[in-house]
């Protein structure tokens, strides 16, 4: 697993208070990890802060799974 993936996973575990094992790449923040719409806004803010990237609202709306987040951030960072 890439550094980005590890870090994303850690942030999700912290912010949503879920078990690490549940944070699979396919896991949906809302359907699988118990987040509501405000939780996802905060999660995206945490990604921005941690990775020093900007995630505009229209892009944030498309980030619904752990994998979506990892891929978007890796693309922004040119990894």
């Amino acid at each position: 697993m890439s550094d980005t993936a590890e870090k994303v996973k850690k942030i999700v575990v912290e912010h949503l208070g879920v078990e690490e094992a549940k944070v699979t790449p396919e896991a949906s923040f809302i359907d699988d990890l118990g987040a509501d719409s405000l939780d996802t806004v905060e999660l995206v803010m945490a990604f921005e802060e941690a990775f020093g990237v900007e995630i505009p609202d229209d892009a944030a709306e498309k980030i619904t799974t752990v994998k979506d987040a990892i891929e978007y951030i890796e693309k922004q960072k040119g990894e």
């Binding site: 208070g17 405000l38 939780d39 803010m45 921005e48 802060e49």
Partner: protein, 427 residues
């Protein structure tokens, strides 16, 4: 408004919960209070070096088993950031009160007949302070989506209703330091008038932060002469008093319609028999001459209770330890009780826990109920030399066993708002 006619229903207290500077849990706090212990100490949670007041009553940190607060034992980490500390304290007190009452409606009807009315004087001040610091730095994008719901006063009622599924009236009170009594009284009226059968009611406050202390310091309201001896700072009616000591905490009660409480075999602590309110129309922070607003609130409360002053044996005073307010309240009580004042005990429990602002009236309402239950008047600590004499016994220094069947509790707030509530021994 009441086209079909109605007669008010009786309301009783069936559950109680406290988080305050003497700790968590009604019995733990009450035991410490009767023993004459104080919950006031030096402020450790932020730097007070630029502030003239450096002491407060803060909820002790520690484990639940020791009667202290580790919020992670009560609220999941991921939810803590969604609520300011005042809401967290409200949830802690509500959990005790609801469990104590044994009220856990299993059907939709029961949930819809159960409401929540928890107020706060100030609300999420520290949360607002933190968000505004981000804004000042141009970091508005970093402001949390939970900022507003964390700071809003009615979210204490909102969070409690969400936790328990109580779908009845969801309301909140904001009347500065009179909040707690207004919440208990208004909630009791909702039951009396038929809007709900059960109300989870009270007040919560957590304004002991840099901004909160600085604000009250600026208003010259706080004690500043006892920073080295914090436990002596709150000294209602004593000639050495020099202002109030800020406190934080929450008091929550479960109020219930009497017939229902009886039917389900609930433990009944006391009955809410009277409630009175008034406005000073005088000054934003100072009480009116003779505390005539307080006089009218107490008069209205006794009238609605259908009792005369001589039938009341205990008053839990507002008694904040300010030079002006304490003697004016005493003057109003002396005027109302007249000769009957000889049989009255009146104490200020703020001497032990400080002034919990919007939570004060709720916590002190609980102390009044306990005074009736245990037939004991809690002490006014540090009342070594009263600034003036009175025929009213102000329970100096030590708790006093007394025959107490009816008790009245006062709370007055900035803006000139006054409220009094009257409890009687369980029917």
């Amino acid at each position: 408004m009441f086209q079909n006619g109605f007669s008010p229903r009786r309301v009783v207290v069936t559950g109680m919960g406290i988080a305050c500077p003497l700790g968590l849990g009604v019995e733990h706090v009450w035991k410490r209070m009767l023993a004459g212990e104080s919950g006031i100490g030096a402020i450790q949670s932020f730097d007070t070096s630029t502030l003239p007041a450096k002491i407060a009553g803060q909820v002790p940190a520690g484990t639940r088993a020791d009667g202290a607060l580790d919020i992670s034992e009560w609220i999941p980490v991921k939810d803590q950031k969604k609520m300011d500390r005042f809401i967290q304290l409200a949830l802690v007190a509500a959990e005790e009160a609801v469990a104590d009452s044994g009220w856990a409606p299993q059907d939709e009807e029961g949930r819809c007949r159960t409401g929540v009315m928890i107020g706060s004087g100030i609300g999420g001040l520290e949360t607002i302070d933190e968000a505004s610091r981000l804004a000042v730095q141009g970091k508005t994008k970093r402001i949390s989506p939970f900022f507003i719901p964390s700071a809003l006063i009615n979210l204490a009622s909102g969070q409690v209703s969400i936790k328990y599924g109580f779908k009845g009236p969801n309301h909140s009170v904001v009347t500065a330091c009179a909040t707690g009594v207004h919440a208990l009284g208004d909630a009791a009226r909702l039951i009396a008038l038929g809007d709900a059968d059960v109300m989870v009611a009270g007040g919560a406050e957590a304004a002991v932060c840099e901004l909160g202390v600085a604000g009250f310091c600026a208003a010259r309201a706080l004690s500043t002469g006892f920073n080295d001896t914090p436990q002596q700072a709150s000294r209602p009616w004593d000639e050495g008093r020099d202002g109030f000591v800020m406190g934080e905490g929450a008091g929550v009660v479960v109020l219930e319609e009497y017939e229902q409480a009886k039917r389900r075999g609930a433990k009944i602590y006391a009955e809410v028999i009277g409630y009175g309110m008034s406005g000073d129309a005088y000054h934003i922070t100072a009480p009116a001459e003779g505390h005539e607003g307080a006089f009218r609130a107490m008069t209205a409360a006794l009238r609605s209770a259908g009792v005369t002053p001589e039938q009341v044996q205990y008053v839990n005073a507002h008694g904040t330890s300010t030079p002006l307010g304490d003697d004016l309240e005493l003057e109003a009580v002396e005027r109302l009780w007249g000769e009957a004042g000889k049989g009255l005990a009146m104490s200020s429990t703020k001497s032990a826990i400080g002034h919990l602002l919007g939570a004060a009236g709720a916590v002190e309402g609980i102390f009044s109920v306990l005074a009736i239950r245990d037939k004991v008047a809690p002490p006014t600590l540090n009342l070594e030399k009263p600034s003036r004499e009175s025929i009213i016994d102000r329970v100096a220094l030590q708790a006093q066993p007394r025959k107490i069947d009816v008790a009245l509790s006062n709370s007055f707030g900035f803006g000139g708002t006054n409220a009094s509530i009257v409890f009687r021994a369980a029917p």
